[in-house]
Symmetry: C2
Subunit: 337 residues, 2 copies
């Protein structure tokens, strides 16, 4: 994994899956049932360490990703964050006075449980496995903070950004500060690399993509590397499509995550010359299994493993995914089946 | 409008807006309040004609689009379709026996009110204004039929397509048949052009994009032109991003609709050589108004009006959009303000 982030190719490619610690695993569900809420699990270093390691033990993935959530950033900024079973996250929608009142001085303390989890995982994890820390990108986190929940088109945040641009910029600036603190803390605690999840980058128009996705990412990358020279950073601007090359060239990340809609020839010709690429098996194809899964795996390896490539899904693994399909995937990528 | 679809450029460019007949207009809301449901409005040729013409009278758009809905296709196939106020459409989710039982012989009769509306609008509309008919693309309509409602990721249809491919192919085939009947009927009734809305094309992986978006569109275009030689057809594969060039080259459409995320240099360099382009002002920018709106309008005209270009939004107009912003937009595009 780290060899690819450091600039080399690897064959077979390293593999991990977004949301690999999650509800499709019975051992995860057993731990989850011990705590009242998802947030409690994120904030308990012992339990979070355990669920982080579960998929490594079971499947032998090449990287672990610390069990946490992109909404730990607003939580650390003092905002109320609840996870409603079956409905997703709920926050108190932030307004202009709320933005003006955001204080970043409490972020490092609030994230202490996350940093503790990273340390504990790194202690237990084989040295040849990478540990990935992460945060949500400022734009994506802002969409939840403004709307108070997930939205299909992120209209509340986009409208605020268009109508009250100075206030929205202030929100983004505070989220950049908090993200930098979070990523530096995770790297200092033992993360080998960090990933910035910009799950809603794709919704932005061209001008706003530069302003709200690329700009803050550039700033985070610069400040993290200032504190942690040579820090390896993966960016995942989901849905960025035609703007992926710009993102790869301008942000300074070492690797770009690709959702499942990105054609492999584009990734090979336009992205791999600049960065490593990570992705992009369709989670539905993994869910469905069968010959279609084998063909998709082989197609990805044939298309991308000649260059810098980390095998992953194009989005998080679906909770209904059969474990046998994940075993089949890992075996086929590692060349052991 | 028709000059651009016929292969020429026009300066100033023609302009119309997706959902230009809709809730942002008080005169629309007045008509809507006279009928119990949205579907009743679609099925009443007198009222549908009136709301189709309202935005032409008020703003002087260069094209009218018949008031209807993409879910008229499952309705015409005999499926139950309800529109729940504030919640969106509801259908009885279709299963394999339901797919096997779909009969296309009733489609033409069921769509008679739509064809009547087209005829009535064409009679009242100035000859220099174009009338656009439309249907939903088979893939997009199928996502609603399988899930029974709008879904954030179209997982139900994608899962059915991956697991029960033959059944899903049968559903798509029947939707192609019904779409062809609908578009031919609208063209015979007086539509000058037709648009195929593939609102969820963007979610598909590369292989499925070819199979479920491009393939059915190719078939519709071929069969419509067989019945109506020279029929002008606009395709709108929303979110297609990196696959837009392929769509423009392979489907045979005369124009491609662009959502607001498509960079203008890509549209100019990779799409306009093959097709006319239509779009792609961000609806949020129109909603917000001000200098940002003026700059975006000017940028679009500067970027695209040198080639084949129809000014539009990148998605439907938002219900909260101030009418003054639409007046400002039309005046600026037409060069009268």
């Amino acid at each position: 994994m780290m060899a690819v982030l450091d600039g080399g190719a690897a064959n077979p490619p390293p593999i991990w899956l977004m949301r690999q610690a999650g509800r499709y695993l019975p051992e995860y569900r057993a731990i989850r049932s011990k705590v009242p809420s998802f947030l409690d699990l994120c904030l308990d270093p012992d339990l979070a360490t355990e669920v982080t390691l579960q998929p490594i033990r079971r499947f032998g993935f090449d990287a672990a990703i610390v069990f946490s959530d992109i909404l730990m950033t607003p939580f650390a900024l003092g905002r109320s964050v609840r996870f409603v079973e079956g409905e997703g996250p709920r926050l108190d929608p932030i307004d202009e006075p709320g933005i003006a009142g955001l204080a970043v001085d409490r972020v490092e303390t609030a994230l202490a449980p996350l940093f503790a989890t990273v340390s504990k995982v790194r202690e237990s994890l084989d040295p040849d496995k990478a540990l990935i820390g992460f945060c949500g990108a400022p734009w994506t986190v802002a969409t939840y903070m403004v709307a108070g929940r997930g939205t299909p088109d992120q209209a509340p945040a986009r409208t605020l950004a268009a109508r009250k641009t100075a206030s929205f910029q202030r929100l983004i600036d505070r989220l950049v500060d908090a993200s930098v603190t979070s990523l530096i803390g995770q790297l200092h605690a033992g993360a080998d690399a960090v990933q910035i999840f910009d799950s809603w980058a794709g919704i932005l128009n061209e001008r706003d993509f530069g302003r709200w996705s690329i700009g803050p990412t550039v700033e985070i990358v610069r400040r993290v590397r200032e504190a942690v020279p040579g820090a390896r950073i993966i960016g995942f601007p989901k849905g960025a499509g035609l703007r992926l090359e710009r993102y790869a060239r301008e942000t300074g990340v070492d690797a770009v995550g690709l959702d499942w809609t990105v054609p492999l020839d584009y990734a090979r010709e336009r992205l791999q010359p600049h960065v490593a690429v990570q992705g992009n098996l369709d989670p539905i194809v993994l869910l469905a299994g069968g010959d279609g899964l084998d063909r998709a795996i082989d197609g990805l390896i044939e298309g991308l493993a000649g260059g810098r490539f980390i095998f992953n899904l194009g989005h998080g693994i679906l909770p209904e995914t059969p474990i046998a399909h994940v075993e089949r995937l890992v075996g086929r990528v590692h060349g052991t089946s």
